[in-house]
Symmetry: C2
Subunit: 217 residues, 2 copies
DNA sequence: TCATCCAGTTAACAACTGTTCTCTGGAATT
DNA sequence: AATTCCAGAGAACAGTTGTTAACTGGATGA
């Protein structure tokens, strides 16, 4: 399909990546809507006009960053949700995964948390689309679980969204505690674990009270 | 304590409020970190330097907006959580409250959602402080409930945080559906209701599995 | 009534912004 | 070997930004 990519295209992709890296670094202390084109080119070390060879605007760059931050995360989430084991072990593994990801990719996590409700519409939309994909994937995995017997599609999807949102909240908490003492980080782990546990308890007793919900449509 | 406030101070507060209103309107399409001082004064219709009579910086203005948006909300939350009735009715009333608040104060809600993880540290901190207050108040109300018997303080607080975060998520969903057809808004109501219901189910069976959690500290 | 205060004005500053057009030199194609 | 292509450079543009200093005029308090 692709044969080693000519030296020209390779250079282009290299500077493109330099743009993404520089922007991500600059975005640790501001929002995308205040990120200047010249600011980025200055950080990369190229002329302002070089920017246009790669992106139409900073919003365009932002969308590319969304793909970089979330695009490669789908397999990870899939396997984490699907792997066997008791619910308690799965919870521990999920939170461990989040903590590790925040440690290794703090700027990416910060960017997503910040721009999810940020001031740039195309970026918000790109993030929303990715999160919907995550929810659908989680739902698909949940459906395989024997505990999902008797659940309808709507309820499975709402549970999946609950899990996804909870993962984002947890990631954001770990981010806030990144430079804090280990004690604080453990506290985050503990709270997040219990919240996930409570949701799981609710899940396992969901059908007990399904009768009550028969009136709302 | 205060006797009608001299005509001078009154005028000052009036223009100060004009600053807050103008900023809030401008922030519907951008983040605080990109909001310019001159931009605001232009919208208000005063000279740029007049800004300094009221705020040190746009970050300072942002903190004032946080107080305006969340400060007066505490009594509302308190009464909504505490009022009697079955859990099902309380859930419906809470979601109704959120939907109504988003309808009447969309810009405030958007501002909080946007700047909670935004690029301006003092504003993030101000929002965080307010949310912690909300969580503590919710916890205090939950503690009064007979269902809270046997719960320890840590678990009550983690449940309270779960509720607070869930309210923000719901508010943000209503916001996205603000200009959407009624069908979409009902869908949000339905999903939010079920998510809250699931959390409540988890809450009522929480103590059943408390033994399992005895190993983590 | 007169002196003080102070919210808002005016003018000016150096520095910065996004975007355009033209040019260049090495890679890619023929 | 000759030609085309195109990532990046360079210069210039009209506008914008935050901040300073010195001012005005009506409300305030003696």
């Amino acid at each position: 399909m692709s044969h080693t990519l000519g030296i020209r295209q390779a250079q282009k992709q290299k500077t493109r990546q330099a743009f993404l890296d520089a922007a991500l670094a600059l975005l640790e202390e501001q929002s995308l809507s205040s990120l200047g084109l010249r600011e980025v080119t200055r950080a990369v070390g190229v002329a302002p006009t070089a920017f246009y060879r790669h992106f139409r605007s900073t919003a365009d760059l932002g969308v590319a960053l969304v793909d970089e931050a979330l695009g490669s995360l789908h397999p990870m989430v899939r396997t984490t949700v699907s792997t066997a084991g008791g619910s308690e072990e799965r919870i521990a593994r999920a939170i461990e995964l989040i903590a590790r990801h925040v440690d290794t990719h703090p700027a990416h996590v910060r960017f997503i948390a910040r721009e999810r409700h940020g001031g740039v519409q195309p970026v918000r939309e790109a993030i929303r689309a990715q999160l919907v994909r995550f929810a659908e994937e989680v739902k698909a995995e949940l459906a395989k679980d024997p505990e999902a017997a008797g659940w309808n599609d709507d309820d499975l999807l709402m549970l999946a969204h609950l899990y996804v949102d909870q993962m984002l909240i947890t990631a954001s908490l770990f981010l806030e505690a990144l430079e804090a003492p280990a004690q604080d980080r453990e506290r985050v782990t503990q709270v997040a674990t219990r919240q996930l546990r409570l949701i799981t308890v609710g899940r396992s007793h969901w059908l007990d009270q399904a009768g009550r919900a028969a009136t709302d449509t």
